[in-house]
């Protein structure tokens, strides 16, 4: 299996919350590698540290120990302003709750990122937003506000907001949890396209085993530790045909070659 050069690495990351008796170790010496053009799927039971790992890797939460290396630079040795610039240039995010501005149309949600972050002109921002909405399949809904969109459409707008500045990394926290499978598939396919066509490194945090076929690497966290990291070539189908359109894919149906 040929390995491409990692562009984001977490090395021996540790993070705890609380103090004294209430102290809980969310991450225990976790190491992870994200590579360009790949979809990584971070899975594990609730409380396993998935969201904490995503926050640490993306520069939102400082680890107690360990390093995050992005393009050869230690993210957590940077100043707050430098880390902010790093996120502006390289990072896109989607969250469970969409978090779209209620007053802005779908197009304006995307334009805002470009005009505020990249100082894009209004004309350029509008063109890019319209292009992105076309890719998202929402060209005819550009003028609609979040209150007028379905859950799947809102999440696609949120994905568009994450991808509009062509980020190097995109971190998606439970992007399909609030969606039915049809809409969820659309969202994950967008992320897959961003990886395989645009070369972004995607990290999806999810409980949803149906996303496994879309992942190039599957990371499994348990109790703050990296239990397994598997490339898709190491994940073999069992007696069930794993078709991308087939619902109800269970992780127990898969054989993981160790």
């Amino acid at each position: 299996m040929k390995r491409s050069q990692p562009i984001l690495q977490g090395i021996h990351l540790a993070r705890a919350f609380g103090e004294g008796e209430k102290k809980t170790l969310a991450l225990r010496e976790v190491s992870i590698r994200l590579e360009r053009g790949q979809v990584g799927l971070l899975m594990g039971p609730s409380g396993s540290g998935k969201s904490t790992l995503l926050a640490v890797l993306s520069g939102l939460l400082k680890p107690d120990k360990g390093r995050v290396i992005g393009f050869g630079e230690d993210l957590w040795a940077m100043s707050e302003q430098e880390r902010e610039k790093f996120r502006l240039r390289h990072c896109g995010f989607t969250f469970q709750g969409y978090n779209l501005f209620p007053a802005l149309t779908a197009r304006q949600q995307l334009e805002l990122v470009l005009t505020l972050g990249n100082h894009a002109t209004a004309g350029h921002a509008r063109r890019r937003a319209e292009e992105m909405l076309a890719v998202l399949g929402l060209a005819d809904k550009a003028h609609l506000r979040p209150g007028q969109l379905s859950g799947g459409e809102k999440q696609r707008v949120a994905v568009g907001r994450a991808l509009i500045k062509s980020p190097t990394f995109c971190f998606a926290d439970e992007p399909t949890s609030a969606l039915d499978w049809e809409n969820g598939q659309q969202v994950v396919k967008l992320l897959e396209t961003a990886a395989h066509q645009d070369g972004a490194a995607i990290l999806i945090v999810s409980h949803d085993a149906r996303l496994i076929p879309y992942a190039d690497r599957v990371f499994h966290l348990e109790d703050g530790r990296m239990a397994t990291q598997k490339h898709k070539s190491e994940i073999r189908k069992s007696k069930y045909e794993i078709a991308r359109k087939e619902p109800l894919l269970r992780i127990s149906d898969l054989e993981l070659r160790v």
Partner: protein, 374 residues
């Protein structure tokens, strides 16, 4: 989209969410305008004898703090004033408290103002028309403000009354000269000498007009060389009177305190309303921070929001202020809304709105992007 475009879009779309904040700003501005306007109007009545007369220069006994607290000075000083070429037509004014005897035998404190009435008198308020001044030449004739009739226990022109031991007759009524303390009673110098204690050769004030009004302050400076009198320009004495009432009397201090309280209430209501409205979007702002949008630009968005809430609030406040002040005037309450007051309140209100936005930003600092992942 530009920050202001985003802000105005959000304000319009989410107008129900921001309405409490806008109304709080408007309420604050109206309350402060009216309370301060009331304060100014109330205490402007204390300087009516100065503001409504034609004299440029007022001379009094040394150290007089307020126009109603004058002490007797010699009329012989008129000749001293007449020797100043820059002044013309110096004359006497009598002004003092006395007691008005009401029909039910109760007494009401009143301020008797006796002045020259012929020609272009300096001490007579301009509301006294030539016809009224003609009628006031009759001994015992007086003019009062229409709004004081109830206080004085009389019904109108033609009624008789007593001031001290002297019988008086109302020969005319004026409007807009209601007093903060005792009602003003306007009369001739001769009538005033009957009503007030003091010798014939004494005056309460000596008044003069400057040949060139713009040099009044220079003339006053030269008059201040005399230690046995105080000299003021019209504006100085008016301000001195009002400040005395504002700062040295319970009425002034309590009314000023109420005006300050109005500002404080407005500030608290505005800050809480805006805080709630802005804080409702904290998760969206946290997403922008996660995406690396510079903190400064997000701060600018919140401040722009607060700014426009302030502007809309003030736009609502101005006609409301004028409308309510008109209602107050109709009800007989004097209210002054000078441009400097309206401008100052606008500035203070806008500052409150923007500071409220800054306070809301504190919650932005507390809403770290990482919290979106928990």
């Amino acid at each position: 989209m530009a920050i202001h475009s985003y802000t105005l879009t959000t304000l319009w779309y989410d107008r129900q969410r921001f309405l409490p904040g806008v109304l709080a700003v408007a309420f604050s501005a109206v309350l402060t305008n009216l309370q301060t306007g009331l304060l100014l109007g109330l205490f402007s009545t204390t300087s009516i004898p100065i503001d409504h007369s034609e004299a440029d220069i007022w001379m009094s006994a040394p150290g007089v703090l307020s126009v109603d607290l004058g002490r007797p000075i010699s009329q012989a000083n008129l000749s001293r004033m007449a020797s100043y070429a820059a002044m013309e037509a110096p004359e006497t004014l009598l002004l003092d408290y006395s007691y008005w005897l009401k029909p039910d035998d109760s007494k009401e404190l009143c301020i008797v103002i006796g002045s020259r009435l012929l020609g272009r008198p300096l001490g007579a308020v301009r509301e006294l028309t030539p016809e009224m001044r003609g009628r006031l030449s009759e001994p015992g004739a007086i003019v009062v403000d229409e709004a004081e009739l109830g206080r004085l226990g009389i019904k109108g022109v033609g009624d008789n009354a007593k001031i001290g031991d002297q019988r008086v007759r109302v020969v005319g009524l004026v409007q807009g000269l209601k007093s903060l303390t005792g009602p003003y009673v306007f009369c001739s110098l001769e009538t005033a000498r009957l009503l007030l204690p003091g010798s014939f050769d004494q005056a309460t004030y000596l008044l003069a007009r400057c040949r060139k009004p713009e040099i009044a302050s220079n003339v006053v400076e030269s008059l201040r060389g005399h230690s046995d009198m105080s000299a003021f320009t019209k504006e100085e004495f008016s301000r001195r009177t009002r400040i005395h009432w504002l700062t040295q009397t319970n009425a002034g201090i309590s009314t000023a305190f109420t005006a300050a309280l109005a500002l404080l209430v407005g500030a608290v209501v505005t800050s809480q309303s805006l805080y709630a409205a802005v804080a409702a979007s904290m998760r969206e702002y946290a997403v922008l921070r996660a995406l690396g949008i510079p903190r400064g630009r997000i701060i600018a968005m919140v401040l722009a929001l607060s700014f426009w809430v302030g502007i809309v609030g003030i736009v609502l406040a101005l006609p409301t202020t004028f409308g309510l002040s008109h209602v107050a005037e109709v009800m007989g309450t004097r209210m002054l809304l000078p441009h400097w007051l309206l401008g100052s309140v606008m500035v203070v209100t806008m500052a409150m709105a923007v500071l409220s936005g800054l306070a809301a930003l504190r919650s932005l600092r507390l809403t770290e992007p990482a919290s979106l992942l928990r």
